[in-house]
């Protein structure tokens, strides 16, 4: 059985598979392509048109001629059936010449959208472009920023059925070899049916039990490039607009890409605001519950009376009230993500009214609880990583439960649990809480505070042996 027959049998003569027989004198050419992923224009202009000129010339070596003169940038000789299938499924056109020689010519159709603005990592200053679903485009966006041959890319084809192209990117000389090897080993061990997005890789690259993410995905090429220059490794996945950065530290979630495009004093202020927002997001509902159910003694009398008067008509304990509000908020958030944008305004108005006025008037929740949950939720949104936002949600729940059972004692237990958990967490064998635990005063210059660029002369010592920036 020849390859064409075998392919027809395996694909059950799939509709989009095109088989074309071409006879040139004594020569028989079979052209196989998949019209949904291959460009028919390219096939017509650069393969079929060229072959049509060969009508009377059948005396010389056809394979050699086509290999050398077909105007395509990527032509390869295929020797086995598996490679034939792989090339075909990647948008190549297969030419089988006299049932002996097989050539794969790249005719991939461009199925991607153009480079657009970042969606969830928005910045005011700095570049606006973002990664898209195309591997090469994403790679190009990084190459455009790092024009050096030491930028290395290790390709992998992962997923039994999807054969998704995954690239491990690092800068040799800055990144530690040990780190590259570790990640390389993890990627090679991956055995999965398919990889449809870079997030599929997270569970293989990240073995941490921490609720907080130890991997950061970014859609910003400038952030990815800065991570490479810091000595980190990128994982780029075909069909995914999110590039993974490894290792990721706790402090990275408080940094944004435009932090390096503005005055240090302003950045320090914003970072402290982010830290305060993070603490509010986690602790505020728990503290409110503690104050109203266990420790009203720590409130000024007027605030206590205000809380008391607001809770008069509420039939639920503060804990149930908080859970109701948080769940309502999560439902609203989820619906806001899922529903078409044209209906978003209607849902926002409805949600605002239901959560705001109607719930209070109906005596289901107290106004102060709405304020507490709203401030907490808004504060949680300051983190640019969705995974970080989600982890805040779990910490918030944990602290609410502990606070409702044990008051301040519970909150302090929660703080100990969270801190020990974070201190125990590793991101690719690096301490997650670095530079705070273990403490590194030099690295604090780009922690929650940011000093002038003079203070940022050195690279992160646990990421790179090449410590001084600007030196090779």
């Amino acid at each position: 059985m020849n390859y064409t027959e075998k392919l027809k049998q395996e694909t059950n003569s799939a509709d989009d598979f095109i088989y074309k027989d071409i006879y040139l004198g004594k020569n028989h050419l079979e052209l196989i392509t998949i019209e949904t992923i291959a460009s028919s224009n390219d096939i017509n202009n650069f393969i079929l048109k060229r072959i049509s000129f060969l009508d009377k010339l059948s005396v010389f070596d056809l394979t050699s001629y086509l290999y050398n003169y077909l105007p395509a940038s990527s032509i390869s000789i295929v020797n086995d059936y598996d490679t034939l299938k792989e090339k075909l499924l990647n948008g190549f056109t297969i030419l089988i010449i006299n049932n002996q020689n097989i050539m794969a010519i790249e005719t991939r159709r461009d199925l991607t959208r153009g480079v657009s603005e970042a969606d969830y990592e928005k910045t005011i200053v700095g570049p606006k472009d973002a990664f898209i679903e195309h591997y090469n485009t994403n790679l190009g966006l990084i190459r455009r920023r790092i024009k050096d041959v030491s930028l290395h890319i290790k390709p992998y084809y992962l997923g039994k059925y999807t054969k998704t192209k995954v690239g491990l990117i690092y800068i040799e000389g800055i990144c530690q070899e040990k780190l590259v090897k570790e990640i390389d080993l993890k990627l090679k061990k991956i055995n999965i049916d398919g990889i449809l997005d870079s997030n599929y890789l997270k569970k293989y690259l990240n073995k941490s039990k921490s609720l907080f993410p130890t991997l950061k995905g970014t859609e910003r090429p400038d952030l990815a490039a800065s991570a490479l220059l810091e000595g980190k490794v990128l994982i780029i996945t075909d069909n995914s607009p999110e590039v993974l950065i490894l290792p990721t530290f706790f402090i990275d979630f408080f940094h944004a890409s435009d932090d390096y495009y503005q005055k240090p004093l302003n950045i320090t202020f914003i970072r402290i605001i982010r830290l305060i927002a993070f603490l509010i997001a986690i602790f505020l509902p728990a503290i409110y519950i503690t104050l109203t159910t266990h420790n009203p003694d720590s409130m000024p009398i007027n605030l206590l009376l205000s809380f008391q008067s607001q809770r008069v008509s509420v039939p639920f304990p503060a804990f149930i009230e908080a859970i109701l509000m948080i769940i309502s908020f999560e439902i609203l958030r989820e619906s806001d993500i899922r529903i078409p944008s044209s209906m978003g305004t209607a849902i926002s108005i409805l949600g605002g009214l239901v959560l705001g006025d109607a719930a209070v008037n109906a005596g289901i929740v107290s106004p102060i609880m709405i304020i507490v949950v709203a401030i907490s939720a808004i504060s949680g949104m300051l983190m640019q990583s969705i995974e970080a936002v989600n982890s805040i949600r779990w910490y918030r729940f944990l602290l609410i439960i502990l606070a409702s059972l044990l008051g301040y004692y519970g909150i302090f237990l929660g703080i100990i649990l969270i801190l020990t958990n974070l201190a125990d967490t590793k991101s690719q064998t690096k301490d997650y809480l670095y530079p705070f635990a273990p403490i590194d005063l030099k690295e604090q210059k780009d922690g929650f505070i940011k000093t002038s660029n003079k203070g940022l002369k050195f690279r992160n010592p646990i990421l790179s042996h090449n410590k001084i920036r600007g030196k090779s």
């Binding site: 109203t292 266990h294 009203p296 809770r311 008051g407 004692y409």
Partner: protein, 298 residues
Amino acid sequence: MKKIFLILILFLFTGCSSYIELNDLAIINAIGIEKVNNTYKMYASIIMETDKETTTPKTTIYEVTGVNLNDMLNQLTLTLNKKIYLSHLDLFLLNDTIKTQEFTEIINFFLNNNETREDFLVICSKNIKELLEKTNYGEINDLVEINRQEASQAIYTTMYDVINKFTLQEPIYFTNLEITEHVKIKGLKVFLNNNYQEILENDSLFLNYLLNNINTYKYNYSCQDNKFLYLNILASTTNENEKEFFIANELKVITNDCNLKKDEINDIFTNYLKTNLEKFTEKKLTIKNTIRGLYENK
């Protein structure tokens, strides 16, 4: 197994039972206590709600009698059907009927009660009930605090000070309030050796000198032809050694119609202070031993 055991300990041995519902609390912000015929009488000022216009808490005064403080609070609980909440107690009023035995009981109550704090103001007055009914904590607190800072006559005594001084058997100084048309400070009351002694306004200034409690006050000196020297005493420090008191004052001249020189002003003020301190120590010989060194330096 260890983890489950640890979690059980954390939950079972801690304050799950300390759950409070805000609306079940009777928040007491002031208590007045007196003893009548071997029974205590307590006036408790309970915050009912906040006045939305003035944002000051509206209070109601409840009166109960009992054999001790715990008994009276239990009776109050039965009257109000609410949990008595003393964490926001700001004012404690007592009168001359509260002496050593009663102090011991009161101090024991506050030391054994982990819900209360000891930083609330303790005041002495003959008209406890009237004071609670006609004024509020904020008014009394401001009165004492402003007097202490601007006139240096009052003393801001907290329950913490009372406990300390009572335990060490030192004199306890209370600001003494009286109510006529309005509330006013009527000097100090000193409790020592199961006895109270009253020190009126002007004298309380000199007592505060000896206790190094002077903040600021104004001094007015009249010279000839209706002319005045008006001084502001900004700060004063009293030091003592085995034999003498040393008092250093920082003076600021506000009005000097008498055209006095700096040395003359100092002399006038020193004489005034010396004379009055001597008068005070002579007049209050009964407490001479209570202020260390005072008797010996007379």
